[in-house]
């Protein structure tokens, strides 16, 4: 059978599906729901149920999609370095993810059911808009399951030689399908925030591609992609820390110490560019609707960003603390410990600037005490230029901690090592001057360009990271390696690895609350109003309590997943008299 025409036909069908307007529903406006269109079940309205299920599904899905990404990188590292430890660690990470996969699908099914039960009119409209894309989503979900099981269960069968490369290819396809699945799901979310491909009445006027390709789609895709990696790293880090704490032998402790270090590294690598992706998303929100941007950053949600600062501050402090403790694993690490207080100073200083609010909701008495609605001295620290400066310096400080740990295990032998060090120090000095200078410039430029002035700061931070890594890499060619004593870590250091997943989980819940709240009382912004009794933005306290409850639920699920993973490695000894 000739396959050429069939392939062309399939490609043509796919292109037509993506690019042609949905004629079946063209011209039909969005429905206008009334209070009666929101059923209650047992006296309960839809929002708390859908909120909890959506958040739980997101936590699990982020974890399940992220793990195969870094597992693939670790597996490849194992092949290139010919170090079997990487392969075994990659497989252990996958085992954790596999246990969570079925639960993700289960919660996803529950979420879909809840959406149709509580928001039938909204779902009817969204199904009309996205139409056949739902089938594509289902197909991708099926493919994700197939490739996930293939990748995991063929691990030993495709262990060496060309077969290993085939296995890596399976992992690559798995990640491509997983990422596409997430991007397709994201399109629903961004359509509700910034609809495209429809007219002002909500009638479909564009193709499915135009509907998906709204102004916020790509920023959200990037943001979630990076956040998932950081989140996945943090979760498996907690697994490693727990196994480290309960290890009975030195070998076990060494293995899980190494696993914890790798997990923390993955979390930090995913986390470092995350604020920049966040800026992009927020800049696009402002470009789409200044009102929406102000609602998020300068309106009643502004305090949430102070809470976010506390969360990010605790994440950075915990990740750095863990890296500082790691300096004790090598003899060479001790010479870097005098730098630690200075790094800590930058982190704490940056954290304090970040948590300084700008416009506060104050009681009249507080206004009187402050002498106005803004503090005269600290007020200027509340605006974006100060915060951008603080976060960039904090990220640089975190990178220094990582760089010191890497250097602790190596002695450069190249003749130009002193020059390399001088260039790196100069890079940092210029970077700090540039970041602070751009921050000060932000105070004298009009508001609309304040976020823009963060671009050179971001470019500076990323440049320092990239160039330092390149110079370090060249300097360490042929370096003498000092022995790293894996397992030589204080017990308290492991608790830093529990702070990361708790803070990440809670922060994801908080960001979900903000993302949903900026739509105010609209299901689909400017197209379909929310007429339900829940069409209000809850207080931060109420939202915080809801997020905590879901996080506790997620912690329980993850403990179950870890237990399942551990259970899978336990083998009951045969009773006496029975052959093994």
């Amino acid at each position: 059978m000739r396959r050429g025409p069939l392939v062309v036909l399939l490609l043509a069908l796919a292109a037509a599906f993506l690019l042609l307007p949905d004629l079946a529903f063209a011209g039909e406006p969005a429905p206008v729901p009334s209070r009666a269109d929101y059923p209650t079940v047992g006296g309960m309205t839809g929002r708390p149920v859908v909120w909890a299920l959506a958040q739980m599904h997101l936590f699990l899905a982020a974890f399940v999609l992220a793990v195969p990404m870094f597992v693939l990188v670790i597996e490849l590292t194992g092949v290139l370095s010919e170090d079997a430890r990487y392969d075994s660690m990659a497989r252990e990470f996958m085992r954790i993810s596999m246990a969570a996969y079925a639960l993700t699908a289960l919660v996803g099914g529950g979420l879909t059911l809840a959406l149709f039960v509580f928001y039938p009119v909204v779902m009817d409209y969204l199904l009309r808009v996205f139409d056949g894309q739902v089938l594509v989503y289902a197909l991708l979900f099926g493919l994700e399951s197939v490739f996930l099981y293939l990748y995991y269960y063929s691990w030993d069968a495709l262990r060496f030689g060309n077969r290993k490369w085939f296995h890596l290819s399976l992992g690559l396809v798995l990640n491509a399908v997983g990422s596409t699945l997430m991007f397709v799901a994201n399109a629903w979310v961004t359509f509700m925030m910034a609809p495209s491909g429809v007219d002002s009445t909500g009638a479909v006027t564009g193709s499915i591609w135009q509907i998906m390709r709204g102004p916020l789609w790509n920023p959200l895709n990037l943001h979630r992609f990076l956040a998932n990696i950081a989140y996945g790293g943090a979760i498996v880090g907690a697994y490693a820390a727990y196994r480290f704490l309960s290890a009975r032998t030195a070998e076990e402790r060494a293995h899980y110490d190494w696993m914890g270090y790798t997990s923390n590294l993955i979390a930090v690598i995913g986390f470092l560019p995350l604020p920049f992706a966040g800026y992009w998303l927020m800049a696009e929100i402002y470009a789409y609707s200044q009102q929406m941007g102000i609602t998020a950053m300068g309106g009643i949600l502004a305090w949430l960003f102070i809470i976010q600062a506390v969360l990010i501050g605790s994440i950075l402090l915990a990740a750095n603390y863990y890296l500082w403790c790691g300096l004790g694993r090598t003899e060479g690490g001790r010479r870097y410990t005098p730098f630690v207080p200075f790094i800590a100073l930058v982190l704490v200083g940056g954290f304090l600037v970040w948590v300084t609010p700008h416009t506060l909701i104050l009681t009249p008495e507080e206004v009187r005490m402050l002498g106005g609605t803004r503090h005269k001295v600290l007020g200027p620290l509340g605006i974006m230029p100060a915060k951008n400066t603080a976060v960039n310096l904090m990220l640089l400080a975190t990178f220094v901690s990582f760089q010191l740990f890497r250097r602790a295990g190596r002695i450069a032998t190249v003749r130009w090592a002193w020059a390399g060090n001088a260039v790196i120090v100069a890079l940092y000095a210029v970077a700090v001057a540039n970041i602070v200078g751009a921050g000060l410039y932000g105070y004298v430029t009009p508001t609309v360009y304040k976020v823009g002035s963060s671009v050179p700061q971001v470019a500076t931070t990323l440049s320092v990271i990239v160039f330092s890594l390149l110079i370090d890499g060249a300097m360490n060619r042929g370096a003498v390696r000092r022995e790293v004593h894996w397992g030589r870590m204080a017990v308290r250091s492991q608790y830093a690895l529990f702070v990361l997943p708790v803070a990440f989980t809670w922060m994801m819940g908080l960001m979900g609350y903000i993302r949903s709240s900026v739509r105010t009382n609209w299901h689909v912004y400017t197209i379909m109003k929310d007429a339900s009794p829940d069409a209000y933005i809850p207080t931060i306290g109420d939202a915080g309590n809801a997020i905590t409850l879901v996080t506790v639920g997620f912690m329980a699920v993850i403990i179950f997943v870890f237990w399942l993973t551990q259970l899978g490695s336990i083998k009951q000894p045969a009773p006496s008299g029975l052959a093994e």
Partner: protein
């Protein structure tokens, strides 16, 4: 034991975040209530006052038109001179071209509300658009969705502030009645009353930071209850030093219920008692 320690530690971290979320100021944001206005009974002054409330309320104009620099601060600049200069700008080619005086400003205002990109004030265009695209939404479309009468009211308010003759006339027909359940009853708290009548748009109340009207801290000590009542019901009877007459709406006597007036008076009296 390790398991218990880890769970207790993780829960403690979690609870510290929750506690922090509960101690920061708490605000619940409800969908904007539709104001019921008897349009047929409005005179020009009533239209201007309604426009002012829309400017700070449903129109959400003050979100951007404030002292933060996102859009021209319409409550602080001399609108008469400013609007005339914009119409005279060689870049301007809109509907007010060729018109004179109040008619030109009226046409310019309507155009800028309904077609904001027709003329963009230099420096306030969307980034990268070279001031050819305005970031301002069309006020008659969602999410703002001002009705024709409401657009007229905002124009009347801005014309009044610009010191020119109000060119729009109160509409003869009443706007559609609000849907069931949306009609606004009397405010039951001081904050609700202050929100309903838009006091914080001009006065620095509940952290609004507004400074169009005088600061009200200590107003109870200065004016007493009767003085505050009079200042609300007859705002032009006595003007605070440094402020202009005719800025505050003069029709609160018709709009406010006695219970609402007393709630506001009680609240303003309390501003002067704290810390004594």
């Amino acid at each position: 034991m390790t398991f218990v320690r880890v769970v207790v530690f993780s829960l403690a971290v979690l609870l510290s975040y929750t506690l922090f979320a509960n101690i920061v100021p708490q605000v619940q944001s409800s969908p904007p209530a539709e104001e019921t206005v008897d349009v047929a009974s409005l005179d020009v002054a009533g239209l201007v006052a309604w426009g002012e409330r829309l400017f700070g309320g449903k129109g959400t104009c003050t979100l951007c038109h404030n002292d933060r620099g996102r859009a021209p601060d319409l409550l602080a600049i001399d609108l008469g001179t400013e609007f005339a200069a914009r119409i005279a700008d060689p870049r301007y080619a809109g509907k007010a071209k060729g018109l004179e005086g109040a008619a030109a400003i009226g046409a310019y205002l309507r155009e800028s509300l309904l077609d904001p990109s027709a003329y963009v004030v230099p420096g306030f265009g969307k980034k990268g658009s070279n001031d050819s695209v305005s970031p301002m939404p069309v006020v008659s479309r969602a999410p703002i969705s001002l009705s024709e009468a409401e657009v007229d009211a905002v124009i009347a308010f801005l014309e009044d502030r610009a010191g020119v003759e109000v060119t729009v006339t109160p509409p003869a027909e009443a706007p559609p009645a609000p849907a069931e359940g949306e009609a606004e009853g009397p405010a039951e708290t001081a904050q609700a009353a202050i929100e309903k009548f838009g006091c914080a748009t001009c006065h620095d109340l509940f952290g609004s930071g507004a400074d169009v009207g005088p600061k009200l801290v200590g107003v109870g000590e200065r004016l007493g209850r009767d003085g505050i009542r009079r200042a609300i019901l007859e705002p032009n009877a006595e003007i605070a030093k440094g402020f202009e007459p005719d800025v505050m709406p003069g029709d609160f006597a018709e709009q406010m219920r006695v219970s609402e007036l007393e709630l506001i008076v009680d609240y303003l009296m309390s501003l002067g008692q704290g810390g004594q």
